[in-house]
Symmetry: D2
Subunit: 338 residues, 4 copies
């Protein structure tokens, strides 16, 4: 439920309604607006007491919300959220470019890529230090050493950084070294990790699960927002279908779907969806044409020697070309990439 | 197999190799090129005799092709096919706009839409006269009366026309009234219809089946090409997935996949994939950004009164806006919509 | 809508209500029962006039039916349909075994299999004469020669026969030679074929489309029933999913779903779902345990030499073993296979 | 790679080969058999050195294994694993019944269900104390209080217990109270949880991810086996498909697929796949007919008042009926449920 206070209700009135909500066994979450305050009513118990709240003199209306999420919904916040990441931001009228190697393999590799990302016009440097791998025998990442390299290169090329956090044990360490935390597709419904990552206060890049619906993805974001962290960016990265010509099927229609239901920015990751280099460019352009707030691209100086996901990583020159083309499509749809 | 003749082989040499192919029990399909002729080797029997053909003096090489299609493949024809439809064409550097009502309901409705399509810059007028409907109790189309209306309006607004042909019984009639024949998603593997539609000589718009792979779709096109009709346009219209926020999931990555494997032009149908009006625009733009040679859009003067698929049809004003935005994206990716 | 007449309403009363239904622009379809008559109200127009019909004195009630199908629904006919095929039947408490080669390749091959099917306890002999193949270059079947062989072997081993009919052009010929007509998975929504096959009066084996929902499959059956042919058997044969360890995913839960919604018998085809021999047995047993009225199995004397679908065909000895095990499971769930 | 030692190789020989493996940069994992020892060769580096190992005098053969898992494979261990859980076991010729409420709601509720499970012939009592819920506002379980209730009821009705462990923070506590740990479908690729749960030494019930392939599921099990814990039971619980008549599609064919590739026992969870009560019975029978080593069923005294998943829970009387019917199908396929 959402309680809509009367216009210009006093703080005392707001406090009183919050007290009533608590008496009913729920948690009130006030959202002060320019002219009036909304109060989200949250609680593990089946929601009751709508009539009681409606009868309070300070209350204008009480809405049952049909969507199971609240804080992430457009009803709750009509204007777009802008997520701040270091010296840049994601959302609004801007197309952000997040790029870097799949795995951080060495300082040299990361430095080459970091400079390439910066000079091509990228905004955030990505790189994996802990890799969740389907096989226990695959390369699992450099760990803390990788985090240190990422941070150092980020400082040297003046780009904020994002890296995947794979469990609560390395969460604190990961949060110390990077500007934004990525929750991977396999962890989208790892609720403990969502909640604890939220509590670090860092902006979160939340990847859609491989078989998650749009609604389930927004509900995962709701776990983060419900901890008081509103800096969430959603990421469409392809879904599991019967299709065999790509690794996953990039669900471009999810971009307008997310944007209609939620105020959170949405980016696309064409690299993981495509699985192959030559499809990364068309999917990146398609994502931006459909309204994405950004793209995330894997770049490697020597993809054929990469320790993970070689076939989908771009060399720096192709990446530069991709950013230039993306900029033109961004402008064609009334956005800017600068 | 494909037999590659020596450069400037004489007609007698080509004839002789064809004769040898026939002796082996296959059908030869010569494809004369500027400097050399290729001969496709087609046959129901397991392919044998490669060594025999390779030993012929006029033969440069014999390729086993790993793909199960030949005539539709890039190996067979490296340059893009341009499909001619009345006074326009599909393919190459151009973005074509095919638009019209889902069902032809009356002359008045079709005329309003036809004029809107023409004035917005559309190239081909579409409209359904025979509707394949999931329920036997749904509106099944106006039949021949619908075909007459479509033809008349096409002539009046000076646009070639395309309509779906649903079975071999109405094929001849449908071919008489329209410039291009559409094979619908449910009929993509109706091989009898594919072959007989091919024999009319009309250009064919072949929609991908709802659960067909890219390879299966190209194989369906191969049935048409194998009848000697090379005027085939493929159409990505969305696939069946677990996703519930759209009717079907537009598989944008199929566009570069088709173009890599085949020389046939590929358009997208965002209307059927989206199922809802507000997703038609972003999906159309995404399709063109990913490299589609055209878009197919449903337009209706009063979508809420449409006899079929109302929720996904655009009003003329929104359609005009969509064409204008599509033009900008087309130019951003180096194509033109004029 | 369904009009429920009063108990023992006279024929004159029934006629009068039918006349009123026709005046409203619909088609009445009376279904006389033991004590009262139901009248299905069918029509292409949006259904109106419920109140008018409800006001007629002879009418007990008028039901809006939420399901888009009528004749195939359990509401319309609560008791199970028994489909008669030659000297046997499908449905009720019995588990039917339909078996034979994927393609009829020769009299000798078919005779060996026919005798194996008969001696193992099978009820219907199957075999393909016209094969719908994904590639135009694959073996397309023996055609009429195949139909003749199937009929002859059926007579010699005293089993009725079923074969796939692939288009309306060979429909009459196919219907002359066989006892039951199969509509294949690719043709489930080939509505012209459904209607014309229905009109032959032959029992129809309708395979679920590879990506058809349960509801869409029942609607395809409705096309047949709406032509006055009630002898329809549904067949679950596997659906398209992301899964890669089988060709298609046998949707066992569709069996109780069909049976809850419809009175038509349902069999399973584990051969096509499995794609591989060693999965045919467990899937056949699973289907019968879940309530299927029968199984359809591919049998070949030398699967490795089969002209189509070799890897999924059983040799006669393994087929005999499968029937014996299926019989035990049938009895464990209160049915019989004899 | 797997190094196969010569028959009756001495411990010194085995040690020497292990030393060579380590020199190559890999980890040796010896598996002593009755007559000869196999040594798994594990390592993050691309595998090299096969020829070197093959040349050692004590080595009989070195196998490249095409499957990316080793310890979970049939090649590694041909005979079925039997998983011990308290006073019972899962695997082999036996069909195990695991049952209990979705969520533990109170001692009374759990006691009623525990007695029903015991008297119907169930073997293991299940119940959720920590519930991973799609929405942060849904009931999240009783936590430790729930674990205590489950343990107490298990002791009172003399059944071992299993409960889901949702994160590493509650792992130790959960392991203290229960006999078997369940890893849920959303956590199948939560590798940190897999590894730490493995280290408790408790038997693990690993549910297949909603969109995981059979191979990915076995790889998740490999993470557990690689920690030295071989007591893993796999669970097929339905996959995400386009199908809308059930919550998930029970992939019955996964049962023989798992059993062919791996030695680990496989059970089915028809309750979560079905989502609705009336489909639980046919899916349970189908699973057992296809070869499952057990079933997991949700039972609740008053499903309509359940705090989670009410529509799919059975009342005790229906559960008793289900066990009786399952027993008959188990016997029909040569197994026993006792």
């Amino acid at each position: 439920m959402i309680v809509i206070m009367k216009v210009n209700a006093s703080q005392a009135a707001i406090d009183r309604v919050q007290f009533e909500i608590e008496k009913l066994g729920y948690i009130p979450r006030p959202a002060p607006g320019e002219s009036r305050t909304l109060i989200g009513v949250i609680g593990p118990k089946p929601l009751r007491g709508k009539q009681h709240l409606q009868a309070l003199p300070e209350v204008s209306d009480v809405l049952d919300i049909s969507t199971p999420y609240k804080l992430a919904s457009r009803e709750w916040q009509p204007q777009d959220t802008i997520v701040k990441v270091g010296n840049t931001s994601i959302g609004g009228n801007k197309v952000s470019v997040i790029a870097g190697p799949c795995s951080i393999e060495s300082y040299e590799q990361t430095k080459i890529v970091g400079e390439a990302v910066k000079s091509a016009g990228g905004h955030i440097l990505r790189g994996g230090a802990f890799k969740p791998r389907t096989s226990p025998y695959s390369f699992q990442g450099l760990g803390e050493e990788g985090l240190k390299i990422l941070k150092q290169v980020g400082l040297e090329v003046n780009l904020p950084t994002v890296t995947e956090v794979i469990d609560t044990e390395v969460l604190e360490m990961t949060a110390e070294y990077t500007d934004m935390l990525q929750i991977g597709t396999r962890n989208m419904q790892n609720y403990t990790l969502l909640k604890e990552a939220a509590r670090t206060g860092k902006p979160i890049l939340l990847k859609r699960g491989m078989s998650a619906t749009v609604k389930e993805t927004i509900l995962a974001a709701e776990y983060i927002l419900n901890e008081g962290n509103e800096q969430v960016t959603l990421c469409e990265r392809g879904i599991r279908t019967f299709v065999d010509h790509t690794r996953n099927t990039l669900d471009v229609s999810a971009i307008p779907a997310f944007q209609r239901l939620s105020h959170l920015p949405v980016i696309v990751d064409p690299s993981h969806a495509a699985g192959k280099r030559h499809k990364v460019l068309p999917l990146a352009l398609a994502g931006v044409a459909a309204g994405a707030h950004g793209i995330m691209i894997e770049v490697h100086p020597n993809p054929e020697e990469a320790l993970s996901d070689g076939p989908q990583q771009l060399v720096p020159a192709d990446f530069k070309d991709l950013v230039d083309r993306t900029r033109m499509v961004a402008e064609a749809v009334g956005k800017r990439l600068d």
